[in-house]
């Protein structure tokens, strides 16, 4: 545990996909960050990090959105996002946008340096150990590419999940291979994306696990959507949902229970 006189102020960046498709991941993140001793705020003026524009080659729109993110979040000690891909966009790629703009480049560098993907933040910065979390099941893990390769997120989720009572982890063949999501790629080249995610779904099913975990909602939605279409019973959750004890609701693409 880091010793501080005051808890760190964390600006929570929910990311556009979690905001829209799976708010539970956002609430699980808030719960974990607070349990880890952070003072968390959710700035109202946040939207998207700009990655869809960046990966489509629209640097002007990306720059506008990056400036917005910088303005909204630069006052915090840390910026934390429940996504390796969005955190990596800010941390690893924003630098490419302001090469010719020294004033913004300085603000960008400061923000990039304090931006974290949540699982690595919890472990590497806050030295957090989940207390009292339990999950009754056998899970396998998919390492999403940006988190894995840009940010080195690999051991942290496994270590965190190691503290979850009742959870058994089994390895996934090709755990570090792309699931075929790729942001706009999956709708620009749907048949190629499908061939890749079919292969991924088959490998997930072959593990015999009843649960798939990961750290990026885009990839999880892709794999859950494919597993659902294949009629698979595998439940898909974001890692924070399990760690926060909030994986008791419907898994991604599974129906809500009637109340």
């Amino acid at each position: 545990m880091q010793h501080r006189s005051t808890p760190p102020r964390v600006g929570f960046f929910v990311t556009c996909i979690v905001d829209a498709m799976r708010p539970n991941i956002g609430f699980a993140s808030l719960k974990l960050l607070e349990a880890a001793g952070c003072d968390v705020e959710v700035p109202q003026a946040q939207t998207c990090c700009g990655q869809p524009a960046f990966n489509s080659g629209d640097d002007a729109t990306t720059r506008d959105l990056a400036r917005q993110v910088i303005e909204v979040f630069e006052g915090y000690d840390y910026v934390v996002a429940p996504s390796g891909s969005c955190a990596s966009m800010i941390r690893s790629h924003y630098g490419e946008l302001f090469a010719d703009d020294p004033a913004w480049a300085e603000r960008q560098r400061a923000l990039s340096a304090k931006t974290w993907e949540i699982l690595s933040f919890l472990r590497d910065v806050m030295d957090y150990h989940p207390q009292g979390a339990s999950y009754d099941g056998v899970a396998t893990y998919h390492d999403s590419c940006s988190g894995l390769r840009d940010l080195g997120v690999h051991d942290q989720p496994r270590a965190l999940l190691g503290d979850v009572a009742g959870l058994r982890m089994v390895p996934l063949q090709g755990n570090d291979e792309c699931c075929g999501f790729g942001g706009t790629f999956c709708v620009k080249y749907p048949s190629v994306s499908n061939a890749i995610v079919e292969d991924k779904a088959a490998k997930i099913e072959a593990t015999g696990a009843d649960t798939l975990l990961g750290g990026d909602m885009g990839c999880l939605m892709n794999m859950a959507g494919k597993l659902s279409r294949r009629g698979s019973d595998v439940k898909v959750y974001h890692t924070v949902e399990v760690l926060a004890g909030m994986a008791d609701g419907p898994a991604i693409c599974k129906p809500e229970k009637m109340r």
Partner: protein
Amino acid sequence: MKQTSEHFKAHVTAALADPTLKIALNRTTTLLRERRAQVIADFGEYAAAREAAQKIKDHTLDNLAHYLAMFEANAVASGAQVHWARTPKEATDIVTAICKAEGARSATRVKSMLGEEIGIGEALAAAGVERIETDLAEHIIQLAGDPPSHIVMPAMHKTHEQVAELFREKHAQPSNSDEIAALVESARRELRPKFLNADIGISGANFLIADTGSIVTVTNEGNAELTTTPPKTHIVTVGIEKIVPSMAHATVFLRLLSRAAIGAEITQYTTFYNGPKRAGDADGPETMHIVLVDNHRTEMLGQFLRPMLRCIRCGACMNHCPVYAAVGGHAYGAVYPGPMGSVLTPAMSDLKSTKDLPNACTLNGRCNEVCPVNIPLPDMLRSLRARQHQAGLTSGMTRGGLAVWGWLARRPGLYRRATGLAMFAMRVWSMNRGRIRRFPMAGNWTRHRDLPQPELGTFMQQYNRRSRK
């Protein structure tokens, strides 16, 4: 080969409908990935070697003219003739002029991607010179009339069962067995006499060594030596980026190349050639010609594509690319497929006809991770997308969609209301089934997979509701 990258999507459709291709690709990419992972894990100094390799290439590219001039002087001193070609046409004109001057009727050839790049097969055919491909995989695709589908394993798209069938049809004394060893024997019977009777031997080079004027070939079948030694004339066609300063520098790459390419510590044959046969030599060609080819390389040197010139053509990027592994090399419609090809093909032709290539990538970063010279392929592919966007080549749909979304995303209040409404509509549409099988304007997603039912309220709506309480 004729470049058909503009038909990428049609090629993809055909490739995905071919179950045998899927088997062939899956067999080989799986094997290559496993072997590479093992041999890299066993190579203690891998990270240091990779960094050294990158530095050597960067230094050489910074001083390219110096090292090329040094190479030329030393190659000429050892008796070779050096030619310079700016374009593929200039290169093949030089080759066919040599063939003509020698009165050559047949030429044996060692697989070389530079040869494919300049269209040497077509040029030899036009000049009336019989071309005998001596690499086993090149022999297979020559018999099949296919272009290569991989830069190291050009027949990767074929299963050995398909090869057995092809050999039975085309070989003079085929084997009845489908066993790989029997197929190799069949090819040997077919090729061996032709090796000895060829007038010209044509090769590429894996490296050019500046301070000795040597060229280096790295092969597994021994066909390079049999191609370059018996004929009277040896012609080398090679890209100028293959140069390294010295033997010692070349060894750094030799340790990386076969590990990255095929997951082996070293290949069966690594040969250094220093000029033609000298007085007292038992064998060797009487004349040796080295054709140094530019073909857009000096253009790439001066811009963001410069790191691409570090490439040693190992093919690791394509072996580890999920897109390549799904569709195979022919889908790219170009000499160089996969991630490295998706950078090189636009650089060597134009942005427009190759528009799909930089986009048909999930930016997963695996290619860069496995690249032995650390080429930032995903960054370069993304930069190519930015250039397409600047050139107005992106589709109206994409531009329009991005404009609307970007406009909204810059207005947080409006954005929150819009996403709230859209998610509410989607939730209603889901009929509380948990998953959505079809959704307006999301056909490219829902054709293959379900969409989840959104919760009641976006995160921001729910959060603000809770905070007000």
